[in-house]
Amino acid sequence: MGIKIALAGNPNSGKTTLFNGLTGSNQFVGNWPGVTVEKKEGRLKSNKEVVIMDLPGIYSLSPYTLEEVVARNYLITERPDAILNIVDGTNLERNLYLTTQLMELGIPVVMAVNMMDVVKKSGDAIDTRKLGEKLGCAVVAISALKGEGIEEAAGKAVQAAQSRQAVMPVHEFSREVEACLDEIETMLSGDIPEEQKRFYAVKLFERDDKIAEQMKHVPDISSIIEKAEKDMDDDSESIITNERYDYITSIIGESLTKANKAKLSTSDKIDRVVTNRWLALPIFAIVMWLVYYVSVSTVGTWATDWANDGVFGEGWKLFGMVDVPGIPVIVENGLNAINCAPWLQSLILDGIIAGVGAVLGFVPQMLVLFIFLAFLEACGYMARVAFIMDRIFRKFGLSGKSFIPMLIGTGCGVPGIMASRTIENDRDRKMTIMTTTFIPCGAKLPIIALIAGALFGGASWVAPSAYFVGIAAIICSGIILKKTKMFAGDPAPFVMELPAYHMPTVGNVLRSMWERGWSFIKKAGTIILLSTIFIWFTSSFGFVDGHFGMVDDLSDGLLASIGRGLAWLFVPLGWGDWKSAVAAITGLVAKENVVGTFGILYGFAEVAEDGAEVWGTLAASMTAVAAYSFLVFNLLCAPCFAAMGAIKREMNNARWFWFAIGYQTLLAYAVSLCVFQFGSLFTGGGFGIGTGAAVIVLIGFLYLLFRPYKESASRKVNVSSVNARRAKA
């Protein structure tokens, strides 16, 4: 019979380090059903019978944040055999607050007081025996980073789980509150076990609707609550919170002896400089430049070039001397050797390897970036980024941490989207995922060069204007989306802990890097693989002289037929030519394909990166305004399959994924329409139906942008949908 132990604790308490230390490589990483909260499970290294469930890092069991709802639903419905509660010894008071809530669940709790080495070094002392006595649980002093005491803590938790003893909380509130809770407990129906009565009584007293919904029989206690609220001049939820902290304050003096607190800690000294009023922004700029310089422009580019042109290209040189052929070359030789059918060879080489290779080529660069992100998060600087940038970003419904995904997005949208995982707040994260790819990424630069060169004589304003369009799209989208129903509600309270700085371990940084990279690779194997096969199939098969079969010329393929079928859609945008439609579709595999497709369709076998060969033909077939509209559409519309895969991965929800893609494409269409129609009007075109449509679109857009908007007081709506989804799952 297996034992289930839940690992619970505050964020920044060293929970991940402890989890890694206890489970080693026996981990399974996934998501909680229907939500973007990460779920981790592992088996104890020393005893494979024991499953450790890593709950999200939480401060409380309140019904207001996604993480807290996920964690407490797990604790209430799954009822693990024991809870291992990790507590930061350097920050005891606030960490014990969660402990008082865990103790009420009736599940045996073992407390692991972490960072004991730091506590000792600072001259403080924690009396673990006393602490255990006052909270009613076994207490073990540990240092997760050094691996000290963690086996003992796990052992105690296993013991507690095996004893299967129901536990009753020992902490007490003030006499008035206790009287209320006792009264509520007597009114609870008999199906609630004795040891859980306290929990339900407290939750009912707090008016926690989520818990009431899960109960079969809810007694009417409104008169008890109202009386207590009147007597204590506060709402019942706040009364309980006050009581918990009052209890902790009353016991902390006996369990914790503080050394003289006159001198500043190292962390304080670092923070004095790093978030200094004048130095904070320059330091932030330097850190961001460094991250960008290494992971996007230097090491990142080498890594991507090596992967794309070497491993998934013609080949590369090991140590600059030994020739290593690329995967396509090896596979092609192999297929030739076994006389593979040409269509199958084409599927494998031009479809699967080319498509998936284009996506996997980004992996080395992503891994480089993820090392930086993991380091910035673990050392504590990421919280300061949010602190410094919050003021700007919150105006558009984004988080201060949205800056990093967007900066990375200028290199490649895929790691940019994946970087959004550092944003804790669900709403901010979704908003960031939806808007990050509006920033022109590296692969969109050839399109910009093509349009600038072909129709604007290489004018220097075209490229900056593309970035301007991207930034404007992000800002406007933020404002519009935060007023929609999907994002309705308060901006989450920005009440954030600024954890002490510390040096992360190499192991933790590498593990975090690999977890993120691997989850992307898995995606490349599914959705991206299918999408690239579809594009390959439609571009290499078609009807020629009434026969269906493989075609040599892209313009005979099914994709061209699709392009011809869809071209009318783009007439109002000024580029209703099927060739442009096909180019835009092939851009979904990788944006730089747009240039290559124009090359093929205009009859050039090979074109330069900026497509200089087709400039003349393109200029003849499009007006300047239409070309700019085409550019804008390609910048804003659904990104490449790789980025879509990343969006799917991070949203972890089909509805949100399609909402994001749909919104991006719709916005692209609306903006391009306005660009072309108003552009034509001002360059001498007449006022037609299209212009009228553009005026209506513009008015609608301005309405969405400026419509009055009141932030609602409660965010309960969001969380209840999670419960509904969980119930279904």
């Binding site: 401060y59 207001y64 606030r94 939820e237 706040s238 004048w278 919050d390 308060d490 920005f494 802990e497």
Partner: protein, 73 residues
């Protein structure tokens, strides 16, 4: 009524009461700002908002709009 928003840097105050309701209030209290707690205002972010305070021995950042809900003396 004096609120945490109006407290200058490097000043220590004591919490009297929390106004408002719902998620934000609960969150602020969950983080340890309850009646009678001492709060030390450490610094203001470079762009003027949010502020960083020391409470119960750790560093917390909160927006001025939220700090306005906290009555202090």
């Amino acid at each position: 009524m004096r609120t945490l928003k109006s407290v200058g840097c490097n000043q220590k105050v004591s919490v009297v009461k929390l106004h408002g309701e719902g998620a934000t209030k609960r969150r602020i209290m969950d983080m340890g700002i309850t009646k009678g707690t001492e709060v030390f205002v450490r610094k203001v972010a470079p762009l003027g908002d949010p502020v960083e305070v020391t409470v119960r021995g750790y560093e917390l950042s909160l927006r001025k709009a939220d700090a306005e809900m906290i009555e202090v003396i």
